[in-house]
Amino acid sequence: MIDSSLKDIAAALRDRKVSAVELATESLARIDAGNPKINAFVTTDRDGALAAARAADERLAAGQGGPLTGIPLAHKDVFCTEGVLTTCGSKMLANFVSPYDAHVVSLLKAAGAVMVGKTNMDEFAMGSSNENSHFGPTRNPWNAGKVPGGSSGGSAAAVAARLVPIATGTDTGGSIRQPAALCGITGIKPTYGTVSRYGMIAYASSLDQGGAFARSAEDCAVLLSAMAGHDPRDSTSLERDSEDFGRECTPADAQPLAGLRIGLPKEFFAEGMEGDVRAAVDAALAEYRKLGATTVEVSLPNARLAIPAYYVIAPAEASSNLSRFDGVRYGHRAAEYGDLNDMYCKSRAQGFGGEVKRRILVGTYVLSHGYYDAYYIKAQKLRRLIANDFAAAFEQCDVIAGPVSPTVAFGIGEKSDDPVQMYLSDIYTIAVNLAGLPALSHPAGFGTGNLPVGLQLIGNYFDEARLLGTAHRFQQTTDWHLRVPAGF
C-alpha cells in the first residue's frame, strides 16, 4: 500500500479497507527490511508511530480525517521533534532529544500524519552527497555504491525505496531538488518564507526553506499544503493565507499545457551537463512540447556567480548560527578541558565534522573585521543581480526548465576529499535559493548505469501551484516517477 498515491491511500483509509495502524506497521516493516541497505533513517519511532496511528484511526472512524490523516511520513533530522532524538546528522547533537516540536512537525501532527522516523542527512545540512553525516552515508537505492545526493539524502532515499510515501526536507542550495533528482522522486522547495523555520535547525537563515518529497507532484502538493502557513515565531515567515498547492493537479486533456511558455536558460545548456543528463532533459522537454507547451531561450547571465556568492553568504550565516553550540545549554561537551574558552574550543572541535568546521572558518573570515564589505555585502549585491536576471526571464516565460544536477548520482567517496568539486554539483540549483524562488525536481528518465535524472522547474514567486500542476501533467503521460529501484 505504501507504493500508492496519497489519494488512493487516503481513500483506502477512509473506506476502512486499511487502518492507519496497518499502514504504520507496513512502513516500519519496510524500514526494517530496507534500511540496512541504504541507511536512510537515523531513528525510527515505533511506539510513537503506533500511538499516532491509533489516534488517526479513531479520527478516521469518526469521519474527521483529512488528506494526511493516517499517512506514514518521515522527517529530515533537521526538524525538532519533541521527545524524539534530533541529531541534524551531527555528533554535536547525537544525544539531543528535543524538548519541543518544529512548527512543521506540529502542523503535520495536527493533520494526523504518522511520523515513523527521522532521516539521515549531511551534518547541519551542509553537503551534496549525504557523506557528511556522523551516522554514516545514506546509499542510493538505485545503486548502493552511489550517493543519494544531499543534504536531504535520507528523506529522498526513503521515499525512493518506498519505505514511506512522503518525507520532509530542507533546501538551502539544492538540498531537496538534487537528492530528489538523484533518487528518482519528486521534490519541491517553495518560495522563501512559505514554510516556517521555527524548530528547523538553522544553517543559512536567509536561504533555508522547508519542503516536500513524494513519488509525484500531486502528492508533494498535499504535503506542502499542510506544511505551509504563517508562523509568527519565524521572523521571515510570510503573512499569506494557506492555499491548496494541488489545485492545478487536475485531470489532463489532450493539450493540457497549451499556452505555457517554458524558458530554457542558455547558460544551463551551454556546457557542464553530462551527455546522459542532457539526453533525458531534452526528451522531457520534447514531452512538454507534445503536451502543448512552447519553449523559449532565456538568459541568466549572472547565474555563474551563484556558487561564489553562496559560499560567502551561507558560511557567514552558518558561522553565526552555529556559535550557539557552545557545550553549555545543549549538545556535546568535551570530557576534559581547562578554562571556559578551552571548553568551547574542544567541545566544538570534537562535536563538528570537517565540512561544518570549514564552513564556520570561511564564514568567520568573511565576517571578520575589515572584510565584511568585500565579501558579505558584495555577495548580497550579486544576489540582487541574480534575482534581477530571473525577474527579466519571467517576462518572457511562465516557468523555467533545466537540469537539476550536471551528472547522475556519483560514487560514494568520489568527491568527498575535494570540497570545491562537491560544491560545483549544485551549479543549477543554488541561484534559485539566492533569489528565493520556488522550484521542483521531477523524474525525467534514466542516464548512465540506470541511474535517475531529474528535470528542474523553476517558478516565479508564489507559483508553486503552477509548478506542481505542470509537473503533474507531465506525470499523467509518463511513468518515470512510478519506477521503483530493484530490491525494494
Binding site: V97, S98, P99, Y100, Y192, G193, S206, P232, S235, T236, L238, N302, R304, L305, I307, P308, A309, Y311, V312, D326, G327, V328, R329, Y330, G331, H332, R333, G338, L340, D342, M343, Y344, C345, R348, A349, F352, K357, R358, I360, L361, V362, T364, Y365, V366, S368, Y375, K378, Q380, K381, L382, R383, R384, L385, A387, D418, P419, V420, G436, L437, Y461
Partner: protein, 95 residues
C-alpha cells in the same frame, strides 16, 4: 587571495574551534581552494547595486509586549550537559 597559516590559526581562534598543529596545513589548503572559488565574485562590477538580504524585503515585525511563553526551564535544561539548582554549570570564570 590565500590565507597564511597564521591567519588560519587566527580565524580558528575567533571561531572557538581547536585546531591541531598537524591539521593546519591541510585545513589551509582546503580553505584556499574555497577562497579561490569565492574570488570569482570580484570580477563583477556591483557599484550602485543595492544588497539583497531577503527576497520579499520584509520589515521586522513587532509584537505586543506581553507574556506568551510558559516556564519550561526543567524541560530545556534536561538536555544541558551540566546543570545544578536550575543553573547551567561552566568552568570558573571569576576568581
Amino acid at each position: 587571495m590565500s590565507l597564511s597559516l597564521d591567519e588560519v590559526r587566527h580565524i580558528a581562534k575567533l571561531a572557538r574551534l581547536e585546531l591541531a598543529e598537524g591539521d593546519l596545513a591541510a585545513t589551509q589548503a582546503k580553505l584556499n581552494g574555497i577562497f579561490g572559488l569565492i574570488e570569482e565574485m570580484q570580477a563583477v562590477d556591483t557599484d550602485g547595486v543595492e544588497p539583497m538580504s531577503h527576497p520579499q524585503e520584509l520589515a521586522q515585525r513587532l509584537r505586543e509586549d506581553r507574556v506568551t511563553e510558559s516556564d519550561r526551564r526543567a524541560a530545556y535544561q534536561s538536555v544541558a550537559p551540566q546543570t545544578e539548582s536550575g543553573l547551567y554549570l561552566v568552568p570558573k570564570v571569576i576568581e
